[in-house]
């Protein structure tokens, strides 16, 4: 630009020569000889005299020339192993050591060139401060420092130094990548010299604009680094999966991730850390997780061998890449389901084996001289299957809880998965409700004997834990009621306290509605106790009043349980054999009145009168089949004069038929003979019950009070019975076995019945829920009604959609609901 109008014109060249000399001194590290004042003043002078642009261009040209000479120095350090690219096989030709040393030499030289350039440019910037401030700012030029950095990039890194050869930037990239690869292979490389070169790449930009993401490091190095790393780890991951076991793999992957993080800190740039970790995670974890988990030594193996630490590693790895941990979750779910299915199948197998044992048992009974242990064993085999099942389920749950706690850091997702899987296992087993109830039953009867409070508590807690998973709580309730009923009526329970404790636990867990009926059973028991006592006093009072009634004979004592009919599952006492027979007699009207001998009838009527006084308007239905009686019997040949015989009410009635002396209770029994049909006619006992009781009295060796003709196991029509005069026993007290006393797994028919019953009650529950929902909403689309109904019922059982539909149909028929014709989606309206 023209520059006139200055008072004193300055000749550019002599001043520039002074500066140029000084710059050479600076670049050759002789700056301490130079007078800053003089240099600054000269540069200042040139700018003041409008020679700023010329000065600027001269400085740039000077740097360009200087750096060209530096470039040839750097190029000199390049040795053959570095110049031969991968294509030529440079890698394979030179040994690692040679390559590493050659690389380091090159990197050191470049680092030095860069650092010196920076130092020199710092000093030049000092000298040219005035130019920067006045000329560069006003003419929108880059500062001389930034410009010189660009010159370094162009002259050193981007200038072709030999034909057909990559520029130094390319060489640098290859060398650094090669060094990193060596580090990964375990060679000791110098991190500092690499880091210095990375600093350089981070300080240089692709163009003059110096846009942040245009840094050479980000554009010309990092992408290659990442893609090379990706290739490397992909290969390494695949190789490791083939060659090592899962535990080793996990440890290796974790080490690699940490290593790469450390490498970024020490050798590259922190900004790369997340990116390279992502790459390693992708290649070693995300893409390999499935393979890793399914390896022979994968998660299943670790679970089997309690390798908690390795499971922890797998968890840690996957948690890194995905908070949902899909692969591990899937694997754990699958393993739990498999192990659960094994437990379920074992239980099914055991229960299927059981009926055969049962069939064999009576035969054994005869052969072995009628040992009562045999049927008990058979029953136990069933119960044992249930106990085993519950114990195994608990063990399964405990095991995985421990894994979850110790290896998975009690992770939310995995705990949920475990819970869901456990629930699935339990609910996929059709007898789970029954088995849990049996488990509790067995413990109430036997298990809690001699156990400390804490142990009992733990036992109850276990039951609740399993119970929590059961979806069909109503089915469980049915079974529990049945079992509880037997325990209470037959006084099998070890401790009523514990029973009540259990109920209160269930109350906490499942709610009032669930335990209401169970509690009512306990209430009935207490009331009955009071009632029996009251009646006893009443009778005693009456006898005192008109003493000697009934010829001075002592009236039979009565202990009675009055049971609310809806609360108690009395059908529990009918075994599978006679259930069909009972169905007919179940209805109150159709029931055949049992014929009682007068002395017993008197007691019964006496109690009925007493009860009617206390509670007018209530009707008592006698469940003779459930009672038992104590009678005194005399056998001439036995060494005891009188035996106390405890037997069922039916057995007592049968025995009384053979009583010779009506007046003397417990006196000699006569020698009269009766056929089966005659006994039935005399007592009205249902045939099945009759046969069963006769089996006890005439077949079982220890209690063979009667002799049967012909002698055989089975009771058949036309069999004749008579008094067994020759009965002996060394025991004074004899208990006649009650065939139906023991608890056992249901037979198929029983099960069908239970199912039917629970289906019926579910039907009512569904109808009630539908009506409740509709009453509130008045009008509702079908899908929504389904949803709300299911939600309402979910704490009791999992309602079947088909059943809900049927119930809706039936409600429409009965005009509780109607279809809304004009609605877009199928909807219903509530009819008040």
């Amino acid at each position: 630009m023209p520059s006139q109008g200055l008072t004193t014109d300055v000749e550019f060249t002599p001043v520039w020569l002074i500066l140029e000399n000084a710059f050479t001194e600076i670049h050759t590290k002789n700056a301490s000889k130079l007078s800053f004042e003089e240099l600054y003043r000269n540069a200042y002078k040139l700018v003041l005299k409008k020679k700023g642009e010329e000065l600027y261009n001269k400085v740039v040209a000077f740097e360009r020339a200087w750096l060209a000479s530096v470039r040839s120095l750097v190029v000199h350090t390049l040795s053959a192993p570095l110049l031969m690219g991968d294509e030529v096989g440079g890698r394979t030709l030179a040994t690692t050591n040679e390559r590493r040393e050659a690389g380091e030499k090159f990197l050191r030289c470049l680092k030095q060139a860069w650092e010196e350039h920076n130092t020199c440019m710092g000093m030049l910037t000092d000298v040219l401060m005035y130019m920067d401030r006045v000329y560069c700012t006003d003419h929108r030029k880059q500062s001389i420092f930034a410009k010189a950095m660009g010159v370094f990039r162009d002259e050193i890194l981007r200038t072709e130094f030999r034909q057909e050869m990559p520029v130094l930037l390319e060489v640098l990239r290859r060398v650094v990548l090669d060094q990193i690869q060596m580090a990964r292979d375990g060679e000791a490389v110098d991190p500092f010299v690499i880091k210095s070169n990375v600093y350089m790449l981070e300080a240089l930009y692709r163009s003059e604009q110096e846009v942040e993401d245009e840094k050479l490091y980000l554009r010309d190095f990092e992408p290659d680094f990442l893609s090379q790393s990706r290739d490397f780890y992909r290969g390494e991951g695949e190789r490791l999966l083939k060659e090592s076991d899962a535990g080793t793999y996990c440890r290796h992957a974790k080490r690699r991730i940490d290593e790469e993080g450390d490498r970024c800190r020490s050798t590259l740039s922190e900004t790369t850390t997340p990116k390279i970790q992502m790459v390693v995670e992708d290649e070693l974890i995300r893409n390999k997780m499935k393979g890793l988990i399914e390896m022979e030594s994968g998660v299943a193996f670790m679970v089997d061998n309690d390798k908690l630490h390795e499971l922890g590693l797998v968890f840690e790895l996957e948690a890194r890449v995905d908070p949902r941990k899909p692969e591990l979750t899937k694997a754990i779910q699958r393993i739990v389901m498999e192990m659960g299915a094994a437990i379920n199948n074992a239980a099914i197998a055991a229960s299927e084996a059981a009926p055969t044992t049962e069939a064999v048992a009576p035969a054994e009974e005869q052969e072995e001289g009628g040992k009562k242990a045999a049927p008990a064993k058979a029953i136990n085999a069933q119960t044992l299957a249930a106990l085993k099942w519950v114990a195994e389920i608990l063990a399964l749950k405990d095991r995985f809880d421990a894994i979850c706690r110790q290896a998975f850091a009690s992770d939310q997702v995995l705990s949920t998965t475990l819970n869901r899987s456990t629930a699935d296992v339990i609910n996929s087993f059709s007898r789970s409700s029954e088995y849990i109830s049996l488990f509790i039953d067995d413990n109430m009867k036997r298990g809690i004997k001699d156990k400390s409070e804490a142990e009992v508590d733990a036992l109850l807690e276990k039951s609740i834990v399993v119970l929590r998973y059961v979806a069909d709580k109503d089915v469980f309730e049915t079974y529990y009621k049945k079992h509880l009923c037997k325990r209470l009526l037959l006084k099998k329970s070890q401790s009523v306290e514990v029973e009540k404790l259990m109920i209160s636990r269930m109350k906490v867990e499942l709610g009032n509605a669930f335990t209401g009926k169970l509690e009512a059973m306990f209430k009935d028991m207490t009331l009955s106790e009071e009632l029996s006592n009251g009646y006893r006093k009443h009778v005693a009072g009456m006898q005192r009043d008109d003493g000697g009634e009934g010829g001075g004979a002592k009236a039979a004592e009565l202990s009675i349980k009055v049971l609310t009919s809806m609360t108690w599952p009395l059908e529990a006492f009918r075994s599978g054999v006679d259930s069909e027979g009972m169905e007919g007699g179940n209805g109150k009207g159709g029931r055949v009145e049992i014929l009682l001998p007068p002395e017993i009838r008197r007691v019964k009527e006496g109690f009925e009168r007493f009860y009617a006084q206390k509670y007018s308007g209530r009707r008592l239905t006698w469940q003779n089949n459930m009672g038992d009686a104590d009678v005194k019997a005399r056998f001439p040949s036995s060494r005891h004069a009188v035996h106390d015989v405890n037997c069922s009410t039916y057995a007592m009635l049968i025995l009384l038929l053979f009583n010779n002396d009506d007046n003397a209770r417990g006196a000699r029994l006569g020698g009269k003979e009766m056929t089966l049909e005659e006994i039935e006619a005399a007592t009205n006992i249902p045939m099945d019950d009759l046969k069963r009781n006769l089996q006890s009295l005439a077949v079982a060796p220890k209690t063979r009070f009667l002799v049967k003709e012909p002698m055989s196991r089975e009771i058949n029509a036309g069999d004749r019975f008579r008094w067994n005069e020759g009965f002996t026993s060394k025991f004074m007290k004899i208990k006649v076995g009650v065939v139906s006393a023991g608890n056992k797994v249901e037979g198929d028919r029983e099960r069908r019945e239970t199912e039917k019953k629970s289906n019926d009650s579910r039907g009512f529950a569904i109808e009630a829920a539908v009506v409740r929902v509709m009453k509130q909403r008045k009008e509702l689309p079908h899908a929504q009604l389904l949803g709300e109904t299911i939600t309402q019922l979910s704490h009791q059982f999992r309602p079947d959609v088909g059943m809900i539909k049927k119930k809706i149909e039936s409600l429409i028929e009965r005009e509780y609901l109607e279809r809304v014709e004009e609605a877009a989606v199928p909807s219903y309206r509530y009819l008040a």
Partner: protein, 304 residues
């Protein structure tokens, strides 16, 4: 009134205690403190840490007349005031001798129409002590930034020199202060015979992009056209083309320099001859490298 600056002055500047560097200029040697001078001036960081000066712990600022006498050298008195400023955050310039009585060459009988130079400007300052009886006082001016009163005196020449030193040595606070003082002094002392020299210094010691002094000079001449009758002013204006040009623009009612300069020369592609105006050079954002970047020259450096 013992503020931090008093402590600085009394504790260090006057005693030279703990001094770790020397600044020499002409007859003066200043014992200074690196911490203080480097905080004020970016310039001094380099000699305090590098180059020969850092070894000798001394920097010699070439004074005018030391052999290389030209505008790039310094007036030792201006440097002294700059050092004062480092420790006081202010400086006081010696007042000038009163002008000789001006005289008209074209001897018409009429007496000088020029207004007499005011002997004494009535002081409106709040009874500040007057140090020198012969001094001129500038009335307190409320600066736009609401700063405290500036004691400027009439020494426009010295203010211009201090300003030049401040720009050269990158003491930005001093640059602003000196410019303000110069403007104040100009307003009262434009009629002083030394004003011509002040104008010359203003137009030669700083580049045209540094506007503060130039604007003050231009405004004074524009507002007082009678100055152009003065021989001293005539010489000064004639000697400086930039001043010439700016006065011309102002006379035409234009701002002293163009806000939007029209570029009509210089940027022509060396290869294809396309005119490429500075502002239009998009790809390089003002980095003209001799080629338009759109021609087919393979060596074209512009990145598109």
């Amino acid at each position: 009134m013992s503020g931090p600056t008093d402590v600085l002055r009394e504790g260090f500047a006057e005693t030279g205690e703990f001094s770790d560097f020397e600044i020499v200029c002409g007859p003066y040697t200043f014992k200074v403190h690196k911490a203080i001078i480097c905080a004020q001036s970016k310039y001094f960081r380099a000699p305090c840490s590098k180059f020969a000066e850092s070894d000798k712990r001394t920097i010699e600022l070439k004074a005018i007349g030391d052999g290389e006498g030209d505008e790039a050298c310094d007036d030792p008195d201006a440097i002294k005031l700059m050092i004062d400023f480092f420790y006081n955050l202010d400086y006081v310039a010696e007042p000038l001798e009163p002008s000789p009585v001006p005289r008209r060459l074209a001897a018409t009988s009429a007496p000088s129409p020029l207004p007499p130079e005011p002997d004494v400007v009535p002081s409106v300052l709040e009874s500040q002590p007057v140090e020198d009886a012969s001094g001129f006082y500038v009335p307190k001016r409320t600066k736009k930034k609401g700063k405290k009163a500036i004691q400027a005196g009439n020494n426009t020449v010295m203010h211009a020199k201090v300003f030049a030193a401040a720009v050269k040595y990158q003491v930005f606070a001093l640059q602003e202060l000196a410019a303000t003082k110069f403007a104040s002094a100009t307003e009262t002392s434009w009629n002083h015979t030394k004003f011509a020299e002040a104008a010359r210094i203003a137009y030669t010691t700083t580049v045209e992009e540094v506007r503060e002094l130039r604007d003050a000079v231009g405004r004074a001449i524009h507002e007082h056209p009678e100055l152009l009758d003065k021989l001293s002013i005539e010489t000064a204006v004639k000697d400086n083309a930039a001043l010439n040009y700016e006065l011309l623009r102002m006379a035409r009612g234009m701002p002293a320099i163009a806000e939007n300069r029209v570029i009509d020369e210089g940027l022509k592609c060396a290869e294809c001859g396309t005119w490429l105006f500075y502002e239009e050079c998009n790809p390089c954002k003002g980095e003209y490298r001799g080629c338009c970047g759109t021609c087919s020259n393979p060596n074209c450096l512009l990145e598109l």
